[in-house]
Symmetry: C2
Subunit: 425 residues, 2 copies
């Protein structure tokens, strides 16, 4: 855990490590490389400098070693041929003063060159911890869950939503027609696909102009504005301009592809935003699918939480993606768990979703503070889109009331049709 009573304030990073050298030594190598040390003793690394800047190893827990390296290292072959590869979990404390409120430097510190060290044959950032007074120096989510509910006018239940499909290729008036159909079904939330931002045949401006009158017309009828996460990913200038266009047009959400906009871009948007930021994590698989490398979602969501998004995708249970259901649910829990006084994120479930997942999600999470997005589960409902939305809402009612879906469906035709149709697929 971070230190505040020590003479210096610290933040910590916890790692899964595999190395050709014993774990305690590997931990010292990492702590040195990621602060004031190096592989050689340095004349300039005085005691005063170490007290200011040197990282400290605060935990070393050994795990059973492996006979083969998880990740190849030419350095090990050349310098220190190993018969076993040590494994363990370590935690390192870094001085807050090294990075301050600079998120880019926090990342260079906890997730920088250490992934490439020659002695290291596996390294995964499992978690980070910050002190509240440190975390407070970052922007954090501006809207979070409460602000999102306020903007969407949806309370006491999940936001039921969908992604406009086909992902890319629709013309603006085709998009507006689909939005019209979805709003007619009283949907809570609509988003662009992550692939769609500003294609030549359906520019951002044209899409916004086509879609907003439709949203307003339904908002007047429904008494709430359906939330539309329009993808503004692009350059800084494009994102700010598009944010302002959405705001001026009466929209209530913007979406960004966080990994490809990057931390500086998302932080900049956050400082400017007057709308909740829907964070799409496409590309995340490259950072997490190798279990001995990269990032855990626990650490990842904290970093984006500091940057200031409001929603973050977590896949869905029984989805078309690789991720085990337990991992999906853990990710949602991570978004919702207190972290150094920074607002929680609203987790976004999607991929292969329909009414059936609601009871499992509620049983595991005991909350309705989430977005549940279904494509085929809404648009492919045999009785139409409105019934698709109803079936999702009814499933959540049943889940919260603790009634099994089949029982609840007896008096609810939309849910009943969903169960009989999608269970047969």
């Amino acid at each position: 855990m971070p230190n505040s009573s020590h003479s210096r304030a610290e933040f910590t990073a916890r790692y899964l490590v595999e190395s050709s050298v014993p774990i305690a030594k590997a931990a010292e190598v990492i702590a040195g490389e990621q602060s004031s040390g190096t592989f050689l003793a340095l004349p300039g690394e005085t005691d005063a400098l170490k007290e200011r800047a040197r990282a400290r190893v605060i935990k070393v827990e050994s795990l059973p070693p492996a006979l083969d390296a998880s990740l190849h290292s030419a350095f090990v072959e050349r310098k220190e041929p190993a018969e076993i590869f040590y494994r363990g979990e370590i935690e390192i404390a870094f001085p807050v003063d090294n990075v301050g409120a600079n998120l880019q430097q926090l990342l260079a510190t906890v997730a920088g060159n250490l992934f490439e060290l020659g002695e290291i044959t596996g390294l995964r950032l499992l978690d980070i911890q910050l002190l509240e007074h440190h975390a407070k120096r970052f922007a954090g989510p501006r809207f979070g869950i409460e602000g999102t509910r306020h903007a969407a006018g949806v309370y006491g239940r999940p936001l039921i939503g969908t992604i406009i499909k086909p992902s890319i290729g629709l013309l603006p008036d085709q998009t507006a027609q689909i939005v019209d159909d979805l709003c007619a079904a009283n949907i809570d939330f609509i988003k662009d696909d992550e692939l769609l931002a500003d294609p030549a045949y359906a520019s951002f401006d044209a899409r916004l102009a086509a879609v907003m009158p439709v949203l307003h017309r339904h908002a007047d009828r429904m008494g709430r504005m359906p939330m539309y996460a329009i993808n503004i990913s692009g350059t800084i200038d494009e994102m700010l301009r598009r944010h302002d266009q959405v705001l001026e047009a009466g929209g209530n959400c913007v979406m960004v592809n966080v990994n490809w906009v990057g931390f500086s871009g998302v932080e900049h948007l956050r400082r400017h935003t007057q709308l909740p930021i829907h964070g799409h994590r496409n590309g995340w698989g490259a950072l997490t699918r190798c279990p001995q490398l990269g990032f855990s979602f626990d650490a990842y969501q904290k970093l984006w939480r500091l940057a200031g998004i409001d929603h973050l995708h977590v896949n869905g249970i029984r989805s078309k993606f690789w991720e085990p259901d337990a991992s999906v649910l853990d990710s949602a829990r991570a978004c919702l768990t207190p972290f150094a006084g920074v607002q929680p994120l609203m987790p976004v479930f999607s991929s292969g979703q329909w009414a059936s997942q609601a009871p499992d999600m509620f049983a595991a999470l005991q909350t309705v503070d989430l977005m549940h997005l279904a494509g085929g589960g809404i648009i492919g409902h045999p009785q139409g889109i409105a019934a698709g939305v109803s079936s999702m809402r009814e499933a959540w009612e049943a889940a919260v009331e603790g009634i099994d879906l089949d029982t609840y469906a007896r008096t609810r035709p939309a849910l009943r049709a969903a169960l009989s149709h999608f269970n047969a697929i």
Copy 2:
């Protein structure tokens, strides 16, 4: 290769793929997911829409399959238990119109959700290709190799440089003292460590103020300004302000941690910059060390080249990092290879470097258009820093002239001392 004669312009991405389904099918799944298709047939995916937006599989080459999945997929276990995992190389062509000059959307397309698809148990982006008229729409390097040489006043040989150590913890006047010592040795290039940007005890402003008079004093003497890559990584506002401070103070380079600033941030800096941008890739290991996942350097350097950095780190041969020497040299070649009319990047070699690597580097690359950074190899030279710098220059002279180092060292004490000292370590 990208298509220009077809009725639509395209860009392409090449992947290494492993999948529970045959490679040709996996390729179609990816092409669909990353454009207008999905796992279900969509009523809206008309022929006209497909012609506009649908990606095309243009190459499928099978490789020997594997009996075990490289990456775990709960989807495979649940939906399509597999006895073998197909492997192959595929190439997919995407319509330029889907992304235009939006780098964030290009990334979401070639490196987005596809890493997470359930049928996929391995996926690595090997390369991308763009047409010249497409690539021209991105900013690209402003200075490149020629502009860097002009700013540094160094021609016809590599830029010999070092990284200020200890990495972090020095006070501004201590940093200035080290810079003074390095400049007195007629060094070409100095950089901040990637960990150092704006620590509480050595703020960017204080460091800049301490260092610039020293650089100017030596520039007056040397007739060229030693290039100092000062790390400006941070928020957009901080980076622009610091760039302007460096420029106003007469500095000639800025450095950013590209992965953590991100693409939108680096693009924004590029549009603003009047100084070469030194790109540090810390965190890169997380994206590349698993051979069945993530990014090859070929693709990675092209993406940052489009964004507009001028220099990019490639590790060093016989370094303290994991990377095999052949891979390091391939990375440098990639930076120097023509790509759709976009300027080459100056590759930056560092980690464990001293005079000895020069002949191998020149033999492999046949160029001196690179930076060669040595820490201990310069500062740890037994005859002092000036001899350290001289030994590196002499080694490159020998390499270019095709004379072996021992022979060349006979009349050159600095190189001779380097060989006898560092070879014994």
